[in-house]
């Protein structure tokens, strides 16, 4: 069956309409791409962006706060975010957010520690080995929102990676708890196999099986629907039949979740080459394909995609020319330290690498937008976030972090806006933006209100009001 029609059907228009109508109001036993399914994807770039610092001008943000349009972003063509002009009406750009805590001997590590945790940086270990002292927001979202199986097991947040792992600082993003970093999968083929299995090599037989399955399931669904209409059923019996119905749908969704066989083959061929930095952009796109597919099936409510290692030293290709290591470009010298020969046009190169990341983020938005639902696209139901574990390159600063958000989480967040989170001329701490994003996808605080207490307990609680749709 055509994938888009199928999703549309799950939304309530094709299959067993009355039954799905009945389910819609309830807390679902199992997630799916339904109008109430929300998700968050965090894509993280390293090394800061080419924004104003010292004598360097801003080449990242739009030129003015306020409404974003395709025209306004196109006019800002020397800014990195102009790459996202086509998505202007879906964007929420937030300036004025900082990491609160100092690093512990390594700016990159300390930034990575705080990026999705808003937690302190560990005393020990320290330096490039430092760890976050709390769980990350993707972990919290998955823990709170991913359905629990009968045996108590729960799908993890999808934790993906693109590029080399140098061993100096590898994964930085996803924490199960203080000092407990989650490993990331950098091979798209492995990630795909684990989540979706491999496509049936016999496409004709597979299609036949799918047709047979659907014909049987339609019969079973109709019978369940008749049973459900009996009067006097207890709530437990209603729940029993609901679970049965959901179980049928879950298997259909799962079996239907497939990328084209040619794309899976490309992943297989890429498999031995995932450590080669030359492939970082294509691997990022493959990981984006996987994330979008996973979200379309409601497999998990949170995903992270880390691009490059802790101080990304990928040699990006600009205009067909392989460049010096990104980390050195952000230091503006041929060195990972403080002294070295200057890299010509380093700031411009940094800006161009920001644009590469912007285009990779756009690819993710393209993929999420390709899934059509009755209420809009898959992107509209969630949030995709492009951020960084540093604000700037040369200074390794923790203030005015780049936050590019797309998708309004079903109307929770403003869209088509560039806003300033600053309060009383002070930058706000990043727990506030993580609270806002967590709340946007449905995470509650202990009192049942929108999430407002994530991160280190010493931080000022709350969300960022200027991000919220009035």
């Amino acid at each position: 069956m055509d994938r888009r029609r199928f999703l549309f059907g799950l939304g309530g228009a094709v299959v067993a309409l009355p039954f799905l109508e009945g389910l819609r109001d309830k807390k679902r036993a199992h997630a799916g791409p339904s109008p109430d399914f929300k998700f968050a994807v965090f894509m993280r770039q390293a090394n800061g962006v080419a924004q104003a610092e010292g004598t360097e001008p801003d080449r990242f943000w739009p030129s003015a706060l306020g409404a974003l349009t395709t025209a306004s972003l196109t006019a800002d063509s020397n800014r990195a975010v102009s790459e996202l002009a086509a998505y202007a009406d879906k964007l929420l750009l937030v300036k004025g957010v900082k990491y609160n805590f100092p690093g512990n001997g390594c700016g990159h590590s300390g930034g990575g520690n705080q990026c999705l945790t808003a937690a302190k940086v560990s005393d020990t270990p320290s330096g490039n080995k430092s760890l976050a002292m709390g769980e990350s927001i993707d972990n919290l979202i998955a823990r709170k929102l991913n359905p629990k199986a009968v045996d108590g097991s729960q799908e993890e947040p999808l934790t993906l990676y693109a590029g080399r792992m140098s061993g100096y600082i590898n994964e930085v993003l996803s924490y199960r708890a203080a000092k407990t970093l989650r490993a990331a999968e950098r091979n798209p083929y492995n990630a795909y196999k684990r989540l979706f299995g491999l496509p049936d090599p016999d496409a004709v037989a597979a299609a036949r099986k799918a047709t047979e399955r659907k014909s049987v399931n339609d019969l079973v669904r109709a019978e369940l629907d008749r049973l459900r209409k009996n009067t006097g059923l207890s709530k437990a019996d209603h729940d029993r039949l609901d679970l049965h119905f959901t179980s049928i749908r879950d298997l259909e969704v799962k079996l239907d979740l497939q990328l084209p066989a040619t794309r899976v083959k490309e992943m297989e061929l890429m498999s031995p080459k995932v450590a080669d930095p030359i492939n970082i952009e294509e691997i990022t796109r493959m990981q984006c394909d996987i994330i979008a597919l996973a979200m379309s099936g409601g497999l998990t409510h949170a995903a992270t995609l880390q691009i490059g290692d802790g101080n990304d030293s990928t040699e990006y290709v600009i205009g067909g020319v392989k460049q010096p290591r990104f980390h050195q470009i952000t230091h503006r010298i041929y060195s990972d330290g403080a002294t070295g020969d200057p890299i010509p046009d380093a700031f411009e190169k940094h800006h161009q690498i920001d644009r590469i990341h912007a285009r990779m983020f756009k690819y993710l938005l393209d993929k999420l937008s390709a899934y059509k639902l009755p209420t809009g696209t898959l992107l509209d139901q969630g949030v995709a976030v492009w951020t960084n574990d540093l604000a700037t390159g040369p200074g390794h600063r923790y203030d005015n972090l780049p936050f590019v958000i797309a998708g309004g989480a079903g109307g929770y967040l403003k869209q088509g806006q560039y806003v300033d989170a600053t309060e009383a001329k002070k930058l706000v701490t990043n727990n506030r933006i993580l609270n806002t994003l967590g709340a946007a996808v449905g995470v509650k605080n202990a009192a049942g209100g929108p999430l407002d207490d994530f991160g280190d307990p010493s931080l000022t609680k709350g969300q960022i009001p200027v991000m919220l749709k009035a």
Binding site: V216, G232, L251
Partner: protein
């Protein structure tokens, strides 16, 4: 709940339960075998997603659900089981009525009607027949197979094996003039069949549903007694006692051969088999009841067990019926499957022997043990018996006195004349064993000395017969016992205490109003 009948002091009430008890995995396996005419169980259920724990028996409909994992299992099994019907004419012949004539639609209708009645365990409604006949006739196009009839049979089997009518024992019932809801004849036939056989009804039981005779007490009793004489009832009685007596425990035990030089790896299986044969003998050959299960000194031993029990004579690998010393052995609580399973590798475990008996034989209300209980103090050679060590650790004056001192220890100590392998003994750690104790039953305190005396005390207690009746209710009704069952449990307990056989207990339970009715108004 609605009062329906009053017997004795406690009223017998109707109890509500799920309308959709799902087949247990064992019931599914048996049913598939019978429905498809297989020569042996398919074995497919062994790989099914396991059901949640929480009940004594695996057939508790309140707990059984079609989860995503199980639905995938059902689908896979249905595809596998249905596949031969496309390609194998002999397989088709087992489920397709012979001599079908007419056009495709007529043949499809005949098959759907006949097979559907067995799969759903009731006649399909006219609407269902129409739906399935269309589905059958569409199968040629759906499957792309050349033989449309074969494809129709395969797809119909595949669909029916996944249908709610098959995977649940649907019990919608029919409202009665008094407001209560009575199971239909077909629903009652299924409930009886799954209670006594753990599988679908046979043709005779279907006939009793068809002519409505099962709805009369005489008709229901006739069928219940007929089913109990069938070999399929042995499987259900085996399953009931296997779970009740936790016979799987013995499979995983080991004994220290430094302490028990004669212990062999084959003994646990022999002990399990002994109890199974013993129960079958009491229930089916001797047509006796719980008192006999608790007190009979006749059992089944092979060469391995003869050594443990000290039986002289020639024995091989096969079990033979023997009479053991009646001063030492009385019933299943003096058999190795209980004694050796509830012991350590070297020493007896009076605490676990006591807990097991309290929970499964007396149905005493034992709270769960506290957290972080320290182990028994280490043995100092030749100074204390196990009883003395347990007493010091848990008895009067310790924090364990409440449960251990009054409930667990008095039972466990009676079994101290059996060592950890189940062998009779008169000394423990070089000191004489002391097996005298007093237990406060609901009808008062009773004092006994040793396992045989304890077994006789247990066999004379209404509470113990009530416990057994309650467990049988849980198994045959496929639900947890409820407060409203108290009157029925009392009635069955009196019957059992008065010498009623296990079969009589089962028949009384299935004849009770609450087997075939639910209270007015639902839940």
């Amino acid at each position: 709940m609605t009062a329906s009948a009053r017997q004795g002091n406690v009223p017998e009430l109707l109890v509500d339960s799920t309308r959709f008890p799902r087949l247990s995995h064992a019931q599914w396996e048996n049913t598939v075998k019978d429905l498809l005419g297989l020569s042996a169980p398919s074995g497919l259920s062994a790989a099914f997603t396991t059901d949640p724990p929480g009940a004594t028996f695996a057939n508790n409909g309140e707990l059984l659900r079609v989860t995503p994992g199980l639905w995938a299992d059902y689908e896979k099994a249905a595809v596998t089981l249905a596949a031969p019907f496309s390609t194998d004419a002999a397989a088709r012949a087992r489920i397709v009525p012979a001599g079908l004539t007419g056009d495709d639609a007529a043949k499809a209708k005949a098959f759907v009607t006949a097979f559907g009645k067995r799969a759903y365990r009731r006649p399909l409604t006219a609407e269902e027949v129409t739906t399935y006949v269309k589905f059958f006739l569409d199968a040629k196009a759906t499957t792309g197979e050349a033989d449309g009839f074969a494809a129709g049979v395969r797809m119909t089997v595949q669909a029916m094996l996944q249908s709610p009518g098959f995977v649940y024992r649907v019990e919608l019932g029919e409202a009665q003039p008094d407001g209560t809801v009575r199971l239909t004849a077909w629903e009652l036939a299924s409930k009886l069949s799954y209670a006594l056989w753990a599988t679908m009804p046979d043709d005779k039981l279907f006939a009793a549903a068809e002519d409505g005779s099962i709805l009369t007490p005489a008709g229901l009793e006739r069928e219940a007694r007929r089913l109990l004489e069938d070999a399929r009832a042995v499987g259900a009685v085996d399953e009931f006692h296997h779970k009740l007596l936790q016979l799987e425990h013995i499979e995983t035990i080991s004994k220290d051969t430094a302490v028990f030089p004669a212990w062999k790896a084959t003994i646990p299986a022999a002990m399990q088999e002994e109890t199974r044969l013993f129960v079958r003998d009491v229930v089916f050959t001797r047509n006796a009841g719980l008192s006999t299960l608790l007190t009979s000194n006749e059992t089944f031993v092979n060469a391995d067990l003869a050594a443990v029990y000290g039986v002289s004579g020639t024995f091989g690998a096969k079990h033979q019926k023997v009479a053991l010393d009646p001063t030492q052995r009385a019933g299943f609580l003096t058999q190795g499957s209980f004694l050796a399973a509830n012991s350590g590798p070297r020493e007896t475990d009076p605490i676990h022997r006591g807990v097991f008996t309290n929970l499964n034989v007396i149905c005493a209300d034992l709270p769960p043990p506290p957290m972080n209980v320290p182990p028994l103090p280490k043995e100092s050679a030749g100074t204390k018996t196990m009883r003395e060590r347990v007493q010091t650790h848990t008895g009067p004056g310790t924090c364990g006195a409440g449960c251990h001192g009054t409930m667990i220890n008095p039972i466990g100590f009676a079994f101290e004349s059996f060592d950890a392998s189940g062998k009779w003994r008169t000394t423990d750690n070089g000191l004489p064993v002391d097996t005298k104790a007093t237990y406060e039953f609901k009808d008062g305190a009773h004092t006994y000395d040793g396992p045989v005396a304890l077994a006789k005390v247990l066999a004379a207690r209404p509470q113990v017969h009530g416990c057994y009746a309650q467990k049988w209710l849980e198994y045959t009704y496929g639900r947890f016992p409820a407060a409203g069952d108290g009157g029925l449990v009392d009635r069955v307990a009196r019957q059992s205490l008065g010498g009623g056989s296990v079969k009589d207990v089962i028949v009384t339970l299935v004849l009770a109003p609450s087997f075939s009715r639910r209270p007015a108004g639902g839940s």
